[in-house]
Symmetry: C2
Subunit: 429 residues, 2 copies
């Protein structure tokens, strides 16, 4: 085996063999930057060749399997409840994991969920949960199992032992302009999700300005690739394509989204958040084989999802009754006219929230738990001149102006109505 | 400036600006593997993106200029004679530099020629000259100038100070499957040639089985790119496309080719070597502006080229009268039939010579000065059953059998006649 042969095969449009894929991932993952037989510059050239030439289904499934095998794979198959999980490709105001995990657990499945932190205009589930006093994201596999057993669900950070090849490759792609390869994106996501040991998986592939995929065709291709990878690796996998042209719910920001999620768990909350939570929960229960289970819409109404939520937060050191952090500064932006709000751009809202301190420009940056944007109207709602359209929350008053700027062009009143349906499509094996 | 932006621009099919090119080459050349702001993995990804997307004329000319500027550029413009040089893209039996340099110098031009060593099936000019006892390839710029002044021509190795960016980039491309990019090949060759300080340049772009470019269309594209680069960088540049379907001359191997070159310098030698030497010499003299100069065909006949040759060899420590090394073992291969030789494959002859010890599989390998293949017939010649077709020369008898093998399919008697003309095309600014 030789790294150059493998690069040249892909560069010239050929298909990599299973043996070539296993070798290149194994040697790359095990080697250090100098001792390795597959150097960073070789993996960079290969990644660019993959971005150029693509991968067949057999290649991308094997590539994912090889990354998965580079580390440990958790196993919860001995638990009494079947396991299921959801992964979202990321959006603005996407707090769905927070009500979803307890709702699904309340209906009888176990939900082992490894989540990430936010970067750029999208928020991260761990950042949101970390605004709850005492809650911690870093768990050992044994702690993860205990939370899962005691509470029925766990949301935590992926340990360094899971898919280490992906960790190294992602850092390399990040600095070599090779992030945007669909098969590499799909295998990166799926290697981590498969490593967490879930028996079934529902993917929430976002489409629109606030999503990584701007149009339904590319989102469908990503969904298809991930569903194929999951299926080929023995995990029942389904994907929903869902709208990310406008933020989900009325709150964008860490503690703001936790508070909104708690409203959903109390049986209230915004319609879109409830609708998407229930749709994804039903898919997860079906994927886990729990077809006669309780309906998750009922679990949100009858308090059973809330009970799981409180157990989950406590199991990870959090106090579900503690007051959430509030930003020091606040500013209201009034609607300039009366009429119907026809557009409220997800990307701009995400950028505004980041500028307010809710997100990060770079991985090392801290986030402000209380910062964010409250949206007093959503597309389709009536707005009134002079009444609040947005409330901005920040610790530093200088940040408010920088968010105002980006929100000025983010919405339209009485413009053309072009909204995506909340659930656009469904992709199955 | 940011390496990722530059990679992404090229990846997405855009044109790099002069400022981007200057920055990426400068920072890459100056930085060490760790301290650099352009890491090896970033240059590898960029090289693959260039291989994929290509480069415009403006890009490749600027890229070459930036590599040239990464080191020193020799300057011989103060010499009384105009300078001119030739570069060949490499072939089998290609000893043309040996008679050509003194022939051109004998007609009034100064020829500063930086040459390389052989790799794979092609020979290297320095390897050939090093078979002359005492001759040395490594000269300082001051020694180079002295040889040029005293003898009129100099053939030596490129010093480490010339185009160091190319040196680092070529080593990277070699291990990342990115050698085969036409603009990167062209700029690598041209950055070194422009650094040697020649005022004009003639390119011998080989076409055929023994050449890097197998067909005339790709050779023409390479020639066009190199002529454009030279022109854009202020050096009058012309290219000839010449045949490399069969070896040049009757000898393939280091000392064997020196001996054949000396026969040409004595006014004899094979027709094809003489014809190509004269054609390239006339182009070089015209490019140097010496249009009323002596004809190089006369310089070969009247002994004036031989005089320059003897001065050149002596100026670099060699003894032009010393006997050349002879291989310890010899084997004759007879023609199996009587008829007309219609094919004698350049690539196979090159591989045979390498197996006999005349060339290298890897850069570190030594070469055997006396090893090689003598060809007793060339395509078009009559051969006679039982009379010698090839003589093999090697120090190690085991090598003989490995060369016999590859030569068995290398020729044809009374087959279809499909020969390329020696000079196929001419490409000018």
């Amino acid at each position: 085996m030789d790294a150059i042969d493998i690069i040249v095969t892909k560069r010239d449009g050929g298909e990599l063999s299973a043996a070539q894929i296993d070798w290149v991932i194994d040697v790359y993952a095990r080697g250090g930057p100098n001792g390795s037989a597959v150097a960073d510059e070789q993996m960079a050239a290969l990644s660019m060749a993959i971005l150029w030439r693509g991968m067949t289904r057999a290649e991308v499934s094997r590539w994912t399997e090889a990354m998965l095998r580079s580390g440990e794979r958790l196993d919860f198959s001995d638990l009494p409840a079947p396991t299921t999980d959801k992964h979202s490709t990321g959006g603005v105001g996407d707090k769905i994991t927070l009500p979803l995990t307890p709702a699904v657990a309340a209906c009888g499945a176990a939900v082992p969920q490894l989540s990430g932190r936010g970067l750029g205009h999208t928020g991260g589930t761990l950042d949101k949960l970390e605004s709850i006093p005492g809650w911690r994201a870093e768990l050992t596999p044994a702690e993860m199992r205990r939370c899962l057993t005691e509470a029925g669900g766990v949301v935590c950070a992926a340990g360094a032992g899971l898919a280490p090849a992906d960790r190294r490759l992602y850092a390399l792609r990040d600095v070599t302009g090779t992030v945007e390869s669909l098969p590499l994106i799909a295998s990166s996501i799926m290697s981590k999700k498969l490593a967490e040991g879930t028996g079934s998986l529902v993917l929430d592939v976002k489409v629109g300005s606030g999503a990584f995929m701007k149009d339904a065709a590319s989102a469908r291709e990503l969904a298809r690739t991930m569903v194929d990878i999951g299926t080929d690796n023995g995990v029942r996998t389904v994907a929903l394509l869902t709208a990310m042209d406008t933020p989900l719910g009325h709150e964008v920001g860490n503690a703001l989204e936790v508070a909104e999620s708690v409203r959903v768990l109390r049986g209230g909350g915004p319609d879109d958040v409830v609708e998407l939570t229930v749709a994804l929960a039903r898919e997860m229960l079906a994927a886990a084989g729990l077809n006669g289970a309780k309906d998750p819409a009922d679990a949100l109404k009858d308090g059973s999802a809330m009970d799981v939520w409180r157990r989950m937060i406590r199991a990870q050191g959090g106090d579900p009754d503690a007051p959430l952090p509030v930003a020091r500064e606040r500013m209201e932006i009034p609607a300039p006219a009366t009429g119907r709000l026809t557009r409220l751009d997800a990307y701009a809202a995400g950028v505004a929230a980041r500028r307010l301190g809710a997100g990060r420009a770079r991985k090392e940056d801290p986030v402000a738990p209380g910062a964010g944007v409250s949206l007093h109207a959503k597309p389709g709602d009536e707005v009134h001149a002079g009444r609040p359209l947005f409330t901005l929350h920040a610790d530093d008053p200088a940040r408010l102006e920088r968010a105002v700027e980006v929100l000025a062009d983010a919405y339209e009143i009485d413009g053309p109505q072009e909204r995506l349906p909340l659930v656009i499509d469904r992709v199955t094996a």
